[in-house]
C-alpha cells in the first residue's frame, strides 16, 4: 500500500485510486440503471414494433380524456397526464436539492427536500392508481380493450396490454423509489449519514429517482402524445 501511495503515478488505470473517480456504489448504480434502461427500452421497442405492424391504433386523446372529479362525459385529453408529468419533474428537482444539501452536510435541508420528494412520488402513484381504476371501469384491462381504433375500426387488445404492462412496470419503479427515499429519510433522521461523515447514499437514491423520471419522459411521449 505504502509503495503505491508514494509512487508519483497519475494515470487513472495504474491502480491505487478509483479510475472513474466515483465510489463503488455509485458506479454500480449507474450499471444497474443501464441494465434497467435496456429493460424499459425492450418494452417500449416491442410496443413500437407491434404498433408499426398493425393497421389501426386507438387515439390516446380519445382514451385518456378524463380526470378526478370530472363531470360525466368530460373531454379533457392530456390534462391529467400533464399534471402527472409535472409532479414527477418537480419531485426530481426536490431530489436534486436534497443531494445538493447532502454535499453541504445540511441535515435539515436534506430532510425537507426528501419529504417533498416522497410526497411527489406518492402523489404520482395516486394519480396513476386513479387512472388505472378509471380505465378499468371503462372495461380496459389486460386482455380487454373497449376502445376503437382512431379510424373507427375494431382494435386489438395489444393497446391495453402494452399500456398496463409498461405503465405498471414504471409505477412499480416509482413505488420502489418511494420506499428507497423513505429509507433515506429514516437514515437521515437517525443521524446515520452524520456519523458516516457524508451523504453519498442520498446521491445513489437520487440517481434511481431521476431514472424513474427519465423513463416517464419516454412512457409519457410514447403512450399519451404520439
Amino acid at each position: 500500500m505504502a509503495t503505491t501511495a508514494t509512487a508519483p503515478i497519475t494515470k487513472s488505470w495504474s491502480g491505487g485510486k478509483s479510475p472513474f473517480n466515483v465510489e463503488y456504489g455509485k458506479l454500480m448504480m449507474w450499471y444497474f440503471l443501464m441494465s434497467d434502461a435496456f429493460t424499459f427500452g425492450a418494452f417500449l421497442i416491442s410496443y413500437g414494433t407491434i404498433r408499426f405492424s398493425t393497421n389501426g391504433w386507438p387515439d390516446p386523446n380519445a382514451v385518456f380524456k378524463s380526470f378526478p372529479f370530472a363531470p360525466e362525459g368530460a373531454n379533457a385529453p392530456l390534462v391529467f397526464v400533464s399534471v402527472m408529468t409535472f409532479i414527477l419533474i418537480i419531485s426530481s428537482v426536490t431530489m436534486v436539492l436534497a443531494v445538493q444539501a447532502g454535499h453541504n452536510m445540511d441535515k435539515k435541508k436534506v430532510t425537507t427536500n426528501l419529504i417533498w420528494t416522497i410526497i411527489g412520488g406518492i402523489a404520482f402513484l395516486s394519480c396513476q392508481a386513479w387512472e388505472w381504476n378509471h380505465l378499468h371501469h371503462e372495461g380496459a384491462w389486460w386482455g380487454s380493450n373497449p376502445f376503437l381504433n382512431a379510424d373507427g375500426t375494431a382494435s386489438s387488445t395489444n393497446f391495453t396490454n402494452y399500456f398496463f404492462t409498461i405503465t405498471g412496470f414504471h409505477g412499480f419503479h416509482v413505488f420502489s423509489g418511494v420506499i428507497i427515499n423513505i429509507i433515506m429519510l429514516i437514515m437521515t433522521l437517525t443521524d446515520q449519514f452524520e456519523k458516516r461523515g457524508h451523504y453519498l447514499m442520498i446521491e445513489k437514491a437520487g440517481l434511481y429517482w431521476h431514472f424513474v423520471d427519465l423513463v416517464w419522459v419516454f412512457v409519457f411521449t410514447c403512450f399519451y402524445l404520439i
Binding site: 472513474f20 465510489e23 414494433t49 408499426f52 371501469h137 382512431a150 375494431a154 461523515g197 423520471d213 419522459v217
Partner: protein, 152 residues
C-alpha cells in the same frame, strides 16, 4: 481506510444550474403539450403533418432526457471514462429501434399484401359505443363486436 471518494470534487452543480434545468424541462414539456393539443385537431388523413409533429415531439423528448441525465444525474460533470462506459453501450439502441420498427412496418406491409382477411378486417368500421351506460362493459362490448362482424 479513509473515504477518498467521499470528498470528490464536483464541478458544476449549484442552485443556478438546477433552476436553469428546471426551467428548460418545464418549457420543453409545455411545448410538447402544445404540439399534442395541436395534433388533436389535425385529421388522420394528413399523415405528413402528423408525422412531422410526432418527430418534433420525439426530438423534444430526447432533449429532456439529455437534460435529466446530464444535469440532474450529474453525468456531464463526471470524468470522460465514466461517461463513455455508460453511453457507448446505450448506442445499441440506435440499431435496436431502427431494426425493430423497420421489421414491424415490413410485417404490416406483408400482411396487407398477402392476408386479404386481415386487410378487410382492418377497414370495417364499428359503431361508436357509449361508455358508462351498462355495468359489464368489457365482455359485452366484445361480444357485440363479434355479433356485428358475424352479421356483416
Amino acid at each position: 481506510m479513509s473515504n477518498s471518494t467521499a470528498h470528490e470534487e464536483h464541478a458544476g452543480g449549484g442552485s443556478k444550474e438546477i433552476i436553469k434545468v428546471t426551467v428548460i424541462l418545464t418549457v420543453l414539456t409545455i411545448v410538447e403539450l402544445i404540439l399534442g393539443f395541436w395534433m388533436i385537431d389535425i385529421p388522420l388523413s394528413s399523415t405528413g403533418v402528423r408525422m412531422a409533429i410526432k418527430g418534433t415531439i420525439v426530438i423534444l423528448m430526447m432533449a429532456k432526457a439529455f437534460y435529466i441525465v446530464a444535469y440532474f444525474m450529474h453525468l456531464k460533470h463526471e470524468i470522460k471514462n465514466l461517461i463513455m462506459t455508460i453511453c457507448v453501450p446505450l448506442a445499441l439502441f440506435v440499431w435496436f429501434i431502427a431494426a425493430f420498427l423497420y421489421d414491424g412496418n415490413s410485417f404490416r406491409n406483408l400482411r396487407n399484401t398477402y392476408d386479404p382477411h386481415y386487410k378487410e378486417q382492418s377497414t370495417i368500421k364499428v359503431e361508436k359505443k357509449e361508455h358508462g351506460k351498462d355495468e359489464k362493459h368489457g365482455e359485452q362490448h366484445q361480444d357485440s363486436h363479434k355479433e356485428k362482424k358475424a352479421a356483416e
